[in-house]
Symmetry: C2
Subunit: 333 residues, 2 copies
């Protein structure tokens, strides 16, 4: 059933050896012929099953910094590389944009570059390749994204529901009831997951959710500028934030307005970036173990290559309690 | 912070070497002293971190057959063993009962037998060790069970929600709308998950769920005897079953009552046991890839031992379409 080099050759009416050379990117085949053969191979669903002597995998990354240890992506890429290195995989990292994705079809790019599999970080639901992942034949691991109907694509991430449940439990113990959410737009798989996690945690502890307790905005500082005072006026005494960056921005906004953290309002982040412990006050947050995420992604990739059909892996999301959360304040007049 | 052999020795006022010998099950320490030392070690939270030269792991199994290839547990145990063997782990399999669990505390048993970790199959929520898993310090992987608050315990299983969504989509395409569920009592994590998966899939396709469409009973043949005719009288034209065994029992019940499968009613199972393809008619069912489950469980165990805090792994649950499902029948008079 699988498409062979023979099939491609007879479909195009050219020799098998030319097809083979083109797929191996040999120098004695013209660029035009290579392009034609590779496009045809992708369209016919040809897939390189044989792992080459120096197997190659690609990390595609967008909307995420990874080049120094303070940045979110750093640990993920390091964890992945560490595992890959032990098994002699070459790991390339490509920063990609939606424009790049529009120009280069995913399967075609993977085949042309000789990648056996990929790990995809930081994509939103609007990224062009997200649609292509529904059909791709390349083992593809998505961080914080999920593709329903393609067993070649798996998901890894931390358990948002667990993290926010722990956060709300902690706040409830401190006497909070009016708990708000500051997050980004729901056109992202993970922001939708965090939003649902917030609703579920509030429901679990019997707390009321009002529309006015929730602030969703694309630009971080603009949305905290809008929503911190708005939520505070609604009597919200604690705010969950979708990411540490939003939590830190919310604390800055509080500071600008002489709202004390945690005396007047408690703030909780998500990620546990290195900066979280160094904030003033140090940030209570849900930890994403980024080295472990990278290791898991590598394992998931090798599982997919070995026909172990992992759909998703969720890592634990422990709450790290620091000083940005405290007892509920005495009601204001 | 970790409890050491020294701590145990000074707590009991005995020598460090006696503690060490007892924990290594040496023959020159009396049974009573060993018991005392091991119990104390467990209570103090001592854990054997060092992997011994011949590391040992245990599969605990209950309510599940695994000794021949037609049985559900066989592939899971094989997949696990295959991975473990490659890394020189010894794998013991213990069939356990609730009574056994009541007599032997989990951590104590693990320590006494020198197991580094375990894989637990077929437990219900009523099993005594399920309560102990909330506190255990031993890396423990549960098939089809989940412990919320202990990062030493992880879960592996197939995605019930995906499987039942695929099943309902398939039935809807065949014209079915009145779709029922036959399952077991909800005192099991996985039966609760299947139940929720059924409700979610029905909601997803805008189908009405009536209480009379659902039959939950402990004993397989007794409950199909009760619920197959009951659901059929309600006008149900297709039944999802929590497991192949229930589905096969439902087909037998249909045959006894001259209800034709799939002409009068469609039946869907869950598991894809070897027997599913050999039934008359061959059973449409959701596949659990049992070899892959075993492999995943092994990987998860090694991840926990290496501080990669996996909470859960869900494998894909593809629908295998055979002949027990067909077009919705013309409405009966």
């Amino acid at each position: 059933m699988a498409v062979t080099i023979n099939d491609i050759a007879s479909h195009l009416g050219i020799s098998k050896s030319t097809v083979s050379k083109a797929l191996n990117n040999a120098s004695d085949v013209s660029t035009e012929t290579k392009q034609l053969i590779m496009h045809t191979a992708v369209e016919m669903g040809y897939i390189v099953k044989k792992i080459r002597q120096s197997p190659k995998v690609c990390i595609f990354i967008e909307n995420m910094d990874y080049q120094n240890p303070n940045q979110f992506g750093y640990g993920i890429v390091s964890g992945f590389r560490k595992m890959a290195k032990a098994e002699n995989w070459t790991v390339d990292v490509h920063a990609v944009t939606p424009d790049f994705q529009r120009v280069h079809a995913y399967d075609f790019f993977m085949m042309r570059e000789g990648y056996q599999a990929s790990f995809v970080l930081g994509f939103t639901l609007l990224d062009p390749w997200m649609a292509e992942f529904h059909q791709t034949r390349f083992p593809t691991v998505l961080y914080d994204n999920y593709i329903k109907d393609n067993p070649n694509v798996a998901s890894v991430g931390c358990d948002s529901a667990e993290g926010f449940e722990l956060a709300v439990r902690h706040l409830v113990k401190l006497g909070h009831q009016k708990i708000g959410l500051i997050s980004g737009p729901l056109e992202s798989y993970i922001l939708e997951a965090r939003y649902q996690a917030y609703l579920a945690a509030m429901k679990k502890f019997g707390l009321e959710v009002k529309e006015d307790y929730i602030g969703l905005g694309y630009y971080v500082s603009e949305s905290t500028k809008t929503y911190v005072p708005k939520l505070y006026e609604q009597g919200v005494t604690a705010i969950l934030c979708s990411h540490d960056i939003r939590a830190i921005s919310a604390m800055t906004e509080c500071s600008d307005r002489n709202i004390r953290v945690p005396e007047d309002i408690s703030i909780v982040g998500f990620d546990d970036l290195p900066i979280a412990a160094a904030c003033n006050p140090p940030l209570t947050t849900v930890r994403q173990d980024r080295i472990a995420l990278g290791k898991c992604a590598y394992y998931t990739m090798t599982s997919l290559l070995n026909d172990v059909p992992i759909g998703s892996i969720l890592l634990r999301a422990p709450l790290i309690i620091r000083n940005s959360t405290g007892p509920v304040p005495v009601p204001r007049e």
